[in-house]
Symmetry: none
Subunit: 306 residues, 2 copies
């Protein structure tokens, strides 16, 4: 019995150390030095080479090394019977929420305007706040925490998602109500899972339906955004600016137009970084549950894709 | 039925606009162009000419255009039976808290570092967060709200003030414990009232006692800070940066060193500004309550004078 770490997209060392700290008796093999493929029952993956997991004949469980599983589901060679679990980390939620709150507050209190005013030696007290209503696309564990915190801070908030939801403590718009949702808000936060249905959802057709000057925050996945639609959306006035943490290609290529656009704040995919120390206990827990035939934690639905 | 704005001490225009936005059907007359005195049932006043309100034979309610009512009560010609209401502006506390949260989050999540990285085309994912503990100097109505909100967001917080306080839900340091307070934190927020005791409290002697790299936020008064001590405190490493909304001389003189120091974020005294838009709904609400014979909101006690 062993665990394999297959994470070309993440340094495996901190994961190895964190897992061994939780349970020093674990047998862990690290890609690409996996010597006994037959022993592997659980694979911890982040951007594994597609098809690679077929090398484990006795694989019983796949765990993402983060909250997202899109990088797993995009591999069509993964057998449908295999359960997939993901990391649900409070620290991850906390960091992501703080990042989104920062983005929301900087728009609301116009930090970038005052930075420009400072550069130009301008003292202008007029209109110190922009009235905002924040729309969160995706109100699961992560988006739900942002909604909760924004409401506690006294902001108007509403949610949007692909499914019908009931008994929520905030206004919620389901899939077919996208137009109503967009017309209700002027800060748009994308926290959706990346699925075949949500890929490219942030595009010029959607931006056209936004209130003029809407501010965009994307902390989900680069593929949610049609990147070439963003600057035209600024030019047309649909959007006034954006804070982006994720991109189609990361690191963002040096020639990308976003680097030099002052309407864009960009960060290098750091809104929320999974902490191996915080995540290791739940990985070990799922490994033990697998071994003992118990129900798994944080298992995703293969049909819903999250 | 109409509302009269009688506010020689405040520009009536933003109030007129804000009220009309809440209810476009309102009949509002603005001093000194009041044509139909008999129609006026509610007067919105700020430093009205004493005795003037006697011109409204059917006046039923007086509303201050601010929190204070001393400017109304000082007019001895106001009949004792007339109810007086005031503006209770949670918005003021709300704005100040949002400003402080913005400053705290931008330090914690290193917005300014990532802005610099963007300018230089650098993609650096390392160390995405600075661990922080926030110390609030002055934990009255305004500072107390910041403490509450930061705690809800999951940050470590403590307070400091000149008086002994008991039964607080957070660690509190009194006057003589300044050194202990400063050694416990790395974000210092000044929200003290300006008194002879607190003037100049933010000086190089205090900064020397801070944890190296402490971040300063001043939203209280310019005179709390010895302005010439700030840049030396950066140079010595006591402080790493500052967000300032208030200054000894406002507007900040064009020759002031703060304009060109990249370690300083500065805003033109806008952390918290009384806003007609925020107050208009409660004025309209009281007008409706008056019309419908319902109990008024924020009515003052004529005997207590508040």
């Amino acid at each position: 019995m062993s665990i394999a770490i297959v994470s070309p997209g993440k340094d495996p060392k901190p994961w190895l150390e964190a897992l061994r700290q939780v349970d020093s008796s674990l047998d862990i093999q690290v890609y690409p030095q996996i010597e006994d493929l037959k022993k592997v029952e659980m694979a911890l993956v982040w951007q594994h080479p597609p098809g690679f997991l077929r090398n484990f004949p006795h694989l019983k469980l796949i765990s993402s090394l983060g909250a997202g599983v899109d990088h797993i589901l995009s591999d069509s060679e993964i057998p449908h019977h295999l359960p997939i679990v993901r990391i649900v980390d409070e620290k991850l939620t906390w960091s992501m929420t703080n990042y989104v709150l920062m983005g929301v507050l900087n728009f609301h209190r116009q930090l970038y305007r005052y930075q420009k005013d400072k550069d130009n030696g301008i003292w202008d007290m007029s209109n110190p706040e922009i009235s905002i209503k924040v729309g969160i696309m995706g109100v699961g564990a992560l988006g739900g925490d942002v909604v909760d915190k924004l409401m506690y801070l006294g902001f108007e908030v509403c949610g949007y998602g692909l499914n019908d939801k009931k008994s929520l403590s905030f206004p919620y718009f389901a899939k077919h109500q996208l137009d109503d949702f967009l017309s209700d808000i002027n800060v748009l936060v994308c926290m959706l899972p990346l699925t075949s249905e949500t890929e490219g959802i942030l595009n010029i057709t959607l931006f056209q339906k936004c209130n003029p000057g809407t501010y965009l925050i994307n902390v989900a996945r680069g593929k949610h955004l049609i990147e070439e639609d963003l600057i035209p959306a600024f030019e047309e006035g649909y959007l006034s600016g954006a804070m982006l943490d994720v991109f189609r290609v990361e690191p963002l290529p040096r020639t990308h137009a976003y680097w030099s656009d002052s309407r864009i704040q960009l960060t290098p995919h750091i809104a929320s970084v999974t902490n191996p120390k915080a995540a290791a206990p739940q990985i070990v827990e799922n490994y033990k549950r697998l071994t003992n035939g118990l129900p798994l934690q944080h298992q995703i639905n293969r049909v819903k894709e999250y």
